[in-house]
Symmetry: C2
Subunit: 459 residues, 2 copies
């Protein structure tokens, strides 16, 4: 077989890069669990009809066919399976399917790969990791979860800073504020206004104003006020005052606006205490999708705004419904692969080594391999990841084996007794060259951080 | 949408079941890392030609098509993608693709889902987790890795016993022993003999004898000696003596047989020290696939032999080759979903709770939610997974919320000062009913095992 080449849109990492991804996933998962989210995984496939229930995404689906499908087995449309393109659609299905076995409100996290059949471009992937949290209620779901969930994500990103991940900001809006303001203005095509406001960053204010006038029946003045609202942002409750002033100064009043502002204020107040500076009310956040009904979230990695949002979501009154019961939810999703890919491709972070191994035990000669294995077993029994040299080469070559992988310590057994046990040991920190006597049943590295690979900001 | 029903062959777990799966995966992963295996993940898809390079498996492949594939984009066969059906084929491709960036011998573990498009039956899944370890060398790979790898798996399964997983035994044979014995007997259709010996458990000795005579040109006596060899098994080196006696007593001698017996003996000697009783030489293990060239491994869960092998593999001299370079390897793969499914469906193990949460902080009334949030933050900052009650219901109802999920502790804040901070706290172990004063900045459960869900053998 000739040397294979990568498939565009299907990222794969080398071992040291994978360590970066693993540590990011670990911190994210730990944060979710500290907040009481339960893990679930759903199958990779869903019936096509399920995947198409949100029309816009149909172009992105990968369909499955069995290579050796029996004659006449060609899938009828209603049995056709496709790979999931997000974790929300499968979660909604899981909730309906298992509602009788779940305790509501149900908080779950889900970290899995998803697939999108689009042509890879603009750093978009065809296969990528998402890390989602959602809370779903049976019939009702109190507002405080809309405050809680972005704060969980803020905490996760706060913890990621220890790996060298850049600062991050969550941008929040509330659908009720937008809708209440537009309705108070006398506009009724709420979806149309939101869809156009969503284009602000792409096409600029002048074009959006035109579109609002042309498509949603707004007057020049109404369109301008929509743009004025979209221009308001800030991390403290003064934002609420600015919106109120804009509304009152222009005779705009609506019950939804009032409710939305109160909700947004509660979120900002909580954020000021629990994640100061990381949550910004930003009234231009519209999120194209029409199923959001309360808070909507996007986020940016500071200095990497071109990446787009790496953590998004919102509140939906109908995450799932079986006709009898309705399950409202609120959730956010981290685009893990997008984040990891940027961190790696720009050399933002790096891993201290390409293996989990902390210690390499040297092998004196093949006759003494078993004795080296016993040293390794003693170290592993105390939680120290240990490898044994693959061959009894010269010690210089064994040290090079460790060095190539970034293994910090090489263990040298010396002198055996009649039972073939080593009676003396030295361990060398190959970074500093320091070599000391050591006991396999007691030695630990001076710096406990050396026990596992470290991920850190690259100089 | 009507209540959805499960898809046959695509297992999904409820949250408490998923905790069982997570803890099994965690122990397996920790064991692999303690032994210095580096994590990699490969994309879920491979080019079809790659997947079909081992002819026998072609019936199992799921092909991918984009729902909205452009006209004329219908995949030509050489661009057709399919889902991987194991982790060995993708790993071989990964090694070739990245050889220049890897350090050999390269030890990797890989824990991912795989897909097989077969009709689900006999507890076979269409989507399931595999957990693989392999070591691959550039050009050469010393025999001691064939000893090392099953011992790593034995250690992993040994650790799984703490979760209530039944005892487990790895069955080992060596292709050189079989081939050397058959050739020494004068048989040349080695593949044919192995293929028929592989059927012993299914069709019995008499039918295998017939097939050996009919298909491989063996005499009745040769066939009987093949069966005699297959009947030998044991966990200590006396097995080697039995094989030698059988060979010498019948004038069978071959260089390969001698080499294979020496290798097998080294493995049994190491196992006697490092994993006594868990590794059995079993001369009937044939493993149908023809690419194994040294040790072959299968394994059984004691008392669940009907499950078939849940951990298999072997040595292959040509894991991958690009024409110039050849990469020999040895590896084993755990069928994690098969194991987990059996543990759950037979009620062998169970999880102490369905959430990661150790403590539920009660909420006095909605005005004091922020104060309860602060208690939760203090506990989380010390690594204690904590949830806050979703509503300020009566305490009895809040306790029931914890009870339904198996959360062991409920935290009751009492009496606030002027700043709205709680000034007194009690924590109740809802299993024993014991309630004590507690400080959010200092309290830990008496039994540290209560911090995380426990998985244990069901009574």
């Amino acid at each position: 077989m000739a040397k294979p080449t990568p498939l565009s849109g299907f990222p794969e990492w080398l071992p040291a890069q994978r360590i970066v991804e693993q540590q990011i996933l670990k911190i994210v998962q730990e944060t979710f669990e500290l907040h009481g989210f339960a893990s679930i995984e759903t199958r990779a496939v869903e019936p096509l009809e399920q995947l198409l229930s949100k029309g816009e995404t149909s172009k992105e689906v990968y369909l499955l066919n069995r290579l050796q499908a029996a004659e006449g087995e060609e899938q009828s449309r209603d049995k056709q399976l496709g790979l999931h393109f997000d974790l929300t659609v499968p979660f909604a299905r899981y909730v309906l399917e298992n509602a009788g076995h779940l305790a509501f409100p149900f908080k779950r996290y889900q970290i899995q790969k998803v697939w999108r059949g689009e042509r890879p471009q603009d750093g978009r992937f065809r296969e990528f990791y998402q890390a989602d949290i959602d809370v779903v209620g049976a019939g009702e779901l109190p507002y405080h979860f809309e405050v809680e969930l972005p704060l969980v994500m803020a905490e996760a990103f706060g913890r990621l800073r220890s790996l060298g991940v850049p600062e991050f900001k969550i941008l929040v809006n509330n659908r009720r504020v937008s809708e209440g303001f537009y309705r108070g203005l006398g506009l009724n095509d709420i979806e149309g206004v939101l869809r156009n406001i969503d284009k602000l960053d792409k096409i600029g204010a002048d074009k959006v104003r035109e579109l609002l006038v042309d498509e949603t029946g707004a007057s020049q003045q109404q369109a301008q006020l929509c743009l004025d609202l979209a221009g308001i942002s800030g991390t403290d409750a003064s934002v609420i005052g600015q919106v109120r002033a804009l509304a009152e100064g222009n005779g705009v009043a609506h019950e939804l606006l009032e409710q939305g502002l109160n909700e947004l204020e509660a979120l900002l107040n909580a954020a000021a205490v629990r994640a100061p500076g990381t949550i910004e009310a930003n009234l231009k956040i519209a999120r194209g999708l029409d199923y959001y009904t309360g808070c909507v979230y996007e986020s940016v990695l500071i200095g990497h705004e071109d990446l787009g949002s790496i953590c998004s979501g919102g509140r939906y009154d109908t995450l799932a419904s079986d006709g009898k019961n309705t399950y409202p939810g609120v959730g956010l999703s981290i685009g893990v692969s997008r984040l990891v890919s940027r961190l790696l491709s720009k050399g933002i972070v790096t891993a201290s080594r390409s293996v989990p191994t902390a210690v390499l035990v040297a092998v004196l000669d093949e006759e003494h391999r078993a004795a080296s294995d016993r040293v390794a077993a003693a170290l592993r029994a105390r939680g120290i990841a240990t490898d044994v040299a693959p061959s009894a080469a010269k010690f210089g070559k064994q040290i090079k084996f460790a060095d190539r992988r970034g293994i910090p310590f090489v263990w040298f057994p010396e002198g055996t007794n009649q039972a073939g046990e080593f009676v003396a040991h030295q361990v060398k920190d190959i970074r500093s060259g320091e070599q000391v006597d050591a006991d396999p049943n007691a030695w630990v590295p001076q710096d406990a951080a050396d026990l596992t690979p470290t991920v850190f900001a690259q100089a």
